[in-house]
Amino acid sequence: MKTLLARPWIWAWVAAALAFALTAAISQNQGAWGLAVAALTFSAFSVIVGLGQMFVITLGPGNVDLSIPATMTLAGTVSLKVMDGGAGAEVTGLAIALAIGAGVGLTNYLLILLIRIPPIIATLAASFLYQSLAIWSNRGLRVKPPESLAEFAVGRSLGLPNLALLALVLSVLAWVALNRAAYGRQISAIGQNPRAARLSGLPVEAVRLATYMLCAVLAGLCGFLLSCFSGGAALNMGQEYLLASIAVVVIGGSSIGGGRSNVPGIWAGALFLFLIVSMLNSYGLGAGVRLLMTGLIIIAIVAVGSRGPRGT
């Protein structure tokens, strides 16, 4: 068995723990527990989109979904509009958000397959389409989410935020899919050598389609949850998840070149991203310095992580 130190995600967890300790040490107004709850709540969103992005990145060089922010916005605005704040439409709203995700994933894949443009361009270009649809359907309205969903999104069970528990359940499912199911083998094989994967009989295109759809469905779910959490959808609500979805994957020790990914690192990456901002905040640094430091620290983590033992 590999030792704990050889795990690719270990450095991300060390960094997250360090950021937590440094922040908790100087924040007087909220205790360590309050900080932990906030971190878990906000990380839940990055984890959900990060899991989808992880599957896409595993497919190998060039595979990335840049339409996540637009998908979140579209799913959030349309589902809230359909539910219109009323009770009884929660399931319909969720179904619509997931269906939008599935539609987006299918569209992304078809663009990549039929027009043969690289995924990075296809998903970026398509995201303008999704964003425009969101603007068109929203028209500046700010619809409140149904009371029940708003309560669920900010509520806790067993002392932990509901959203964090939901993200945890999704993470366990993703871990099983990645490490124990045939699907995980397939995406890893395609990520290492798509030609050899095809020559070994893998249904390469079916796996790609499933992966892009899975990623977009998770983005749709995340958009739905985020708009319920923050009391309504906004057109820029997905913005920060463009970088975050990729950063949590890479910080977590998954290979940016594809083929080798891990789920625990997604959590570490998400917690670290939130905590580093809190830490710089509590040390009273201005917005400019904060952004600069965040960037530098991410680069440092990635540099250390990619040189560390990778269980060759």
């Binding site: 083998r185 397939q186 290492q192 020559l199 070994s200 009989g201 249904p203 390469v204 083929g259 080798r260």
Partner: protein, 482 residues
């Protein structure tokens, strides 16, 4: 540094050892190579041939003992630095050209003196001359991008780089499996050149699993086994039988008598005109790069789908170009072995890892993969053992048709014999094999042979009609030579 007369050896190994962790790859090897010698290095996969070569060409430093080089001016240097100055060149078994660069740009990589204005013209001249001298009529342009060349052409370029003139002329050229993707006529050109090079005072270390070539070209044969030299004698003192015995394997008997072509149903035909019956071994022959590999790829891709994986698959593929078409470099031996069998290993949506481990162990034993632990990375294996894993991957499925794209490159004689027997058994059990090979010995094992020339089938041979002469005759355009 010491001064000796010019008749000194080119390379002297004195008690050279090399260990990788607990594994002793090379154990106290003492060897000298003189000018004018063509030394053949033979032994099974993992016997230490590549390690020995890497010590000589300076890619590895010995863990003990010394490696010293005789320079053209009579000096003797010890250590890796002397290799370049002594004019030692190595042509590797795994093709190592940069596919995105042109032929002449690839020459620039070892030849550091190619700088300044007009270096491209000089490089083109050097590589062009070398190609013309070794492979007359090669048709390779120095400005061609390597990625556009066929496997055989790439190997020719790599060999030509080894023999090309440079700031320091080549004095010892190490050829590791140089003919593995060359067809018979090109291989013959190379052997002719090696003889001329040695006659002019150069030396060659020739590593090959092909006995015919070894006896044809070598002046001296060094046999390796388990990291030691177990035999070192002039070629005339060996026969095929004694050489194979020295390598530690029973001599393979004459090719097992072919079963009479069965009257079973024809189960496949392709647009090119390939046909095969159930249980038949069908060979694709002809000069390398004349459309055999493309025909196999078209057939395989047509039989399988991008969208659905059936269990068992309609066909499986054994890659010859391992890195490009076969290996999953991040994975263990076990995961590489089970890949094509995956649909059959899934229980309630999850991979049954115990069944997978059993499958891998079964095939390790059946095909003799040399590894203590199948969870080791696939890249820890030698080339021949990697190839065995790819065989196991394909044969572990129940596919009725096995497509083989020149899969014996870099595989030792013992393993080959073993795999030939396995293919024969599987064919008798009803599997059909489509086998493209650049080695005539393998084509002679087939029940039916299609000879390719310029992308089309020019002849179909069966039974006693399958002879080396017939294959060669059909491989060349008769009108051209007439």
């Amino acid at each position: 540094m010491t001064r000796t007369e010019p008749g000194q050896p080119l390379v002297t190994l004195d008690g050279a050892r090399k260990s990788f962790g607990a594994i002793r790859a090379l154990d106290a090897v003492t060897l000298t190579i003189d000018r004018g010698e063509c030394l053949a290095l033979v032994g099974h996969n993992g016997a230490g041939k590549s390690t020995l070569v890497n010590l000589i060409n300076g890619a590895l430093a010995p863990s003990g003992g010394t490696v010293s080089y005789g320079l053209p001016d009579g000096q003797v240097v010890t250590g890796g630095g002397g290799m370049r100055a002594a004019g030692i060149r190595a042509v590797h078994q795994e093709l190592s050209l940069c596919p995105n660069l042109t032929v002449l740009e690839n020459l620039r990589i070892p030849q550091r003196d190619l700088t300044g204005r007009g270096w491209r013209a000089l490089a083109a001249a050097r590589i062009g001359q070398a190609l013309d001298r070794i492979f007359p009529g090669h048709g390779i342009h120095p400005r061609a991008v390597v990625g556009d060349l066929t496997l055989a052409e790439r190997q020719m370029v790599e060999i030509a780089i080894g023999f090309a003139e440079g700031a320091i002329a080549p004095r010892l050229v190490i050829l590791d499996e140089p003919t593995s993707s060359l067809d018979a006529s090109i291989a013959r050109q190379l052997l002719t050149h090696i003889r001329a090079f040695c006659a002019a005072g150069g030396a060659v270390i020739f590593i090959s699993h092909m006995m015919g070539e070894v006896f044809d070209v070598a002046s001296r044969i060094v046999v390796m086994k388990d990291g030691r030299i177990t035999g070192d004698r002039p070629t005339v003192e060996f026969t095929r039988e004694t050489l194979v015995a020295a390598m530690g394997h029973v001599a393979p008997g004459a090719a097992s008598a072919r079963a009479a072509p069965q009257d079973s149903a024809t189960i496949l035909t392709t647009p090119e005109g390939l046909t095969a019956r159930k249980g038949e071994i069908v060979g694709l022959a002809g000069l390398a790069g004349h459309g055999q590999a493309a025909a196999l790829a078209r057939f395989y891709l047509g039989r399988t789908s991008d969208w659905r994986q059936s269990d068992p698959p309609a066909a499986v593929f054994v890659a010859g170009d391992r890195a490009r078409d076969g290996l999953m470099p991040l994975w263990s031996i076990r995961l590489n072995t089970s890949l094509a069998r995956l649909p059959g290993l899934v229980r309630r949506g999850l991979v049954d890892r115990r069944a997978e481990a059993e499958l891998a162990e079964t095939w390790k034993a059946r095909i003799g993969i040399r590894s203590d632990d199948l969870t080791n990375p696939i890249l820890s294996l030698s080339g021949g053992n990697q190839q065995k894993v790819l065989f196991a991957r394909a044969l572990a499925t129940a596919a009725p048709v096995v497509v083989m794209d020149d899969p014996m490159r870099g595989v030792d004689v013992g393993t080959k014999t073993q795999v030939y027997a396995m293919i024969r058994t599987e064919a008798e059990a009803g599997r059909t094999f489509l086998w493209y090979s650049t080695e005539t010995d393998e084509i002679l094992l087939c029940d039916r042979v299609f000879v390719f020339r310029n992308g089309t089938i020019v002849a179909e041979l069966t039974g006693d009609g399958i002879t080396e002469a017939a294959i060669l005759a059909h491989s060349f355009d008769q009108r051209e030579t007439a």
